[in-house]
Amino acid sequence: MTNNGLNNQMLPEDMLSDVLNEALCAGGEFAEVFVEERQSMSASMDDRKVEELSAGYDKGAGIRVVVGSSTGFAHTSDLSEKALLEAARVASAVARGFVGQQSIAVGLKSEKVAGGGRDISARQSGAESIYSIHKDVPKQQKVELLLEADEASRSSGTAISQVSVAYSDSRRRILVCNSDGLLREDEDVRTRFSVNCVANGDTGLQTGYETVARRLGFELFDLIEVTNIAEKAAGRALVKLNARSAPSGELPVVLAAGSGGILFHEACGHGLEADHIQKGASVYCDRIGEQVASGLITLIDDGTLSEEWGGYGIDDEGHPASRSILIENGVLCDYMWDFLRSNKGPEISGKNRFSGNGRRQSYKHLPMVRMTNTYVAPGTDDPEEIIAQTKYGIYVAKLGGGQVNTATGDFVFGTTEAYMIEDGRITYPLRDANLIGNGPEVLKRIDCIGRDFGIEPGTCGKDGQNVPVGCGQPTLRISAITVGGSA
């Protein structure tokens, strides 16, 4: 049962070599073949009905050729040698017109990543498989989870007027090989479960949402109870029926552990991606070694947290995931890199390193610098004390999505569960509101940092590509941030 396909290489080495050679025949310094196969399954329940079960299958290859500062790219869903060679020729078009380049003969060294970040030794026990493969789990069992969650949400309160529940899983195999001789494969299994509730009261409709997503198989449901997720989502909608408008203006804001890691992802993480840095489109350009945040802040990007949503074994350029300290005690230490940016790295930082942050949504996309699991490391304060020491402010139990302009650092986030803090105590719930600020400014205003920790899954969109990420942080306080009042 340990054979999860890793023993059968997705494409034979001689074919891959031929394709790489074809990709470089018009010239160019680097060529890469990325092969991907993805199976997915989802089931959704809405309005008390299991509305849809969906199964999906995608496979294909993306081929890129790098010539100087130009990249050519083509992809195909047809993995025959003929189709791959054709894609290689299309990708190499970028090299035509760059004359005088010798083509390089490519030799490949096969290297199967031993589970990559999947950490086989820790998880493999006896004859059991590394993870429970979703297709071995009866569909009915997945549907039961939906029914269970629906029931739990509706039992949370009579005001719950609508519930939707979604289950999804995926299994993704990748193979990366390139003209530097790298050949690596990895496999990835993910499971996600979410509940969305609507509560109907005198104040109109309110919503509550909760999601759990891990880089695990069906054993995720040994670790979590779907009824818990369902009750959390329902509770969030119900509490807002009695919510009052959020005050507006600059206020202290306490973020509960795990509730607001996205703020650091958006407000700071994106600005530390080397592609933005190299184009001067980040507020953090040329600032390595400088104090860019409160001394309480240590920011880490860690793709090796393998079970978290942003984890993986190898990135989509074949480099192992790593743990990078980006900001340590407020001082900027490093940026995040992919292959292309890393090669250009010395120009900006004196370093030349892969941090394993080259990711892509699918074989149809070019890789670029992306975050993995990005989090603020815990501090020493008692979370309860942080609230107790806040005279008048806002306690955010859950932040929604956000957006940032990496060039200016300006960001905005929505709260989806928040409360007033008055005289050190949480008093009443608030309607959804926005927090708005400037990343570098807010980082300097962190004045308390808890010893607890939480990390949440999310989907990060950049340049039209979505990838799974994790965002985490301990309970912490921002001394002042602009709160956009609610209606």
Binding site: G56, G204, G249
Partner: protein, 484 residues
């Protein structure tokens, strides 16, 4: 089957045929949606090609309805063995969903398809050379760099085009197909003020132009738009909190209309997730305002001959002179509501099932004067003939307000179920009828319901933008702004 040459109708019909041969049961219905696209994208940086990508993508989405149970499967491939296994997956999935009398495939409803093919598809796109596409992007990159000395970097200038072909064939007799082309040229510019009082301040702007054919792309429009949007914000500061009149840029209006359109989905309303659910026949907007979704309007980028279930697209009036006329539906939502599909099914590609959605939302004018409520009597007034004003005439009437150039955080800050609306803004203050200092790091808040009722002026600058709604300058009488 080669994805570059495959005919989508043939593929959809073939898979549908397999289903009927292998299981000619009367209680099973099958629908095959086949999609193929050919995309080229070019990114230019500092006058050189940074990325050049070209590829065909193809796939199918199969819906099987057996005894009122829906199963779905998709594959990003046109290979026969994969298509066969996808059909089997869809059939198997149907065993696990809840029996639902409202689940059905549509039958043709007699509405004739609009004759739009020549307007939506430019067949000559295939002959437009890659070199010419690169030249367009380089031209834009170079144009914007030379426009102004305050331009410090142009991190990305992109050319993209796509040709899409789709077919929907079902056991209910639907056999619809269509195609369209689309080209997009855009640039992202950074400007810095090294002189004035906001010394060292950096701002960004994005400009773009769209067309069905690359020769129709206007490089200067995209360049000027990007620059103007960035420069106008230099030296921006945080405004003070309060109540004021809000004038939205056409781009922002388009986003707000898209959110509103989502709240008028018949499925959303049927499931109790729209604040408008029990308000059909009621006044939800000023009597001067009508809102229509008309995918047969070939000026819109969402225009289409058929909806995602193969029915002919048609004009749907949603708000008629301020009164909520009705919702829009796909087949399932129509059945759920005891009515019929308004041919409003949309899909996000072959990998998703259809759902009700808009394609071409437009705010149309009504009959009466709306002005005189923003504090000033300046500028030209609306007339019985046209309530649409020049943007300048709208500003001239605003005593104290803000001209919102862009909004952020729509995904997190706008709740389409409650209608709560709270977003970050950048723009310019309006004082005594004139544009004043730039602002940033502020939010505005209201609800979609209040904003709709609070519309006080419409601009005549209608522009079809990417997405599902047209933009125009739009003024809301009063909203709250939070800053300092």
């Amino acid at each position: 089957m080669d994805v570059r040459t495959a005919d989508m109708v043939d593929i959809a019909a073939k898979v549908c045929g397999w289903a009927q041969q292998s299981c000619p049961q009367e209680n099973e219905d099958v629908e095959v949606y086949a999609l193929r696209s050919h995309e080229t994208s070019v990114r230019v940086f500092e006058g050189e090609v940074e990325q050049l990508s070209s590829a065909f993508t193809g796939g199918v989405g199969i819906r099987v309805i057996k005894d009122g149970r829906l199963g779905f499967a998709y594959a990003g491939s046109l290979e026969e063995p994969i298509l066969k296994s996808t059909l089997n997956q869809a059939r198997d999935n149907a065993n696990f969903s809840t029996q639902n009398e409202y689940v059905a495939l549509p039958v043709a409803d007699g509405v004739p398809p609009a004759d739009l093919d020549s307007e939506l598809c430019y067949p000559g796109l295939d002959e437009f050379s890659t070199g010419d596409k690169i030249a367009l992007a380089i031209d834009l990159d170079q144009t914007v760099r030379k426009l102004d000395t305050r331009v410090v970097q142009v991190p990305a200038t992109d050319y993209e085009d796509t040709k899409v072909e789709y077919a929907i064939v079902s056991s209910k007799g639907i056999a619809s197909s269509g195609r369209h082309t689309f080209c997009d040229l855009s640039t992202y510019v950074l400007v810095r003020d090294d002189s004035g009082k906001g010394k060292g301040d950096m701002q960004t702007g994005v400009g773009f132009c769209l067309a069905r054919h690359p020769k129709a792309l206007q490089v200067d429009k995209a360049a000027n738009d990007a620059l103007e949007r960035a420069v106008c914000l230099l030296g921006a500061t945080k405004p003070s909190s309060g109540q004021l009149t809000v004038v939205f840029d056409p781009r922002v209006t388009s986003v707000i209309l898209s959110v509103l359109a989502g709240m008028l989905s018949g499925e959303v309303a049927q499931k109790g997730r729209s604040p408008f659910q029990n308000h059909v026949g009621e006044k939800i907007a000023p009597g001067e305002i009508s809102i229509v979704d008309d995918p047969t309007n070939s000026s819109s980028w969402g225009a289409s001959i058929y909806d995602a279930e193969g029915l002919a697209c048609r004009r749907n009036l949603l708000i008629d002179q301020g009164v909520l006329k009705g919702f829009y539906y796909d087949t399932y939502a129509g059945n759920l509501a005891g009515t019929t599909s308004t041919a409003s099914a949309v899909r996000g590609g072959y990998a998703t099932t259809p759902q009700a959605g808009c394609r071409a939302v437009l705010l149309e004018g009504g009959i009466r004067d709306l002005t005189g409520v923003m504090g000033l009597e300046g500028g030209k007034d609306a007339t019985a003939e046209s309530i649409f004003l020049d943007q300048a005439d709208i500003f001239a009437k605003v005593a104290h307000g803000v001209f919102v150039r862009s909004i952020t955080g729509v995904h997190s800050g706008v709740n389409p179920v409650s209608g709560d609306f709270s977003v970050g803004i950048e723009g310019l203050m309006i004082r005594n009828g004139e544009l004043a200092e730039p602002i940033r790091e502020a939010t505005i808040a209201s609800t979609i319901q209040k904003m709709l009722l609070g519309i006080v002026a419409l601009g005549n600058d209608i522009e079809w933008l990417p997405g599902i709604a047209a933009g125009m300058t739009l003024a809301i009488g009063e909203m709250s702004i939070s800053g300092l």
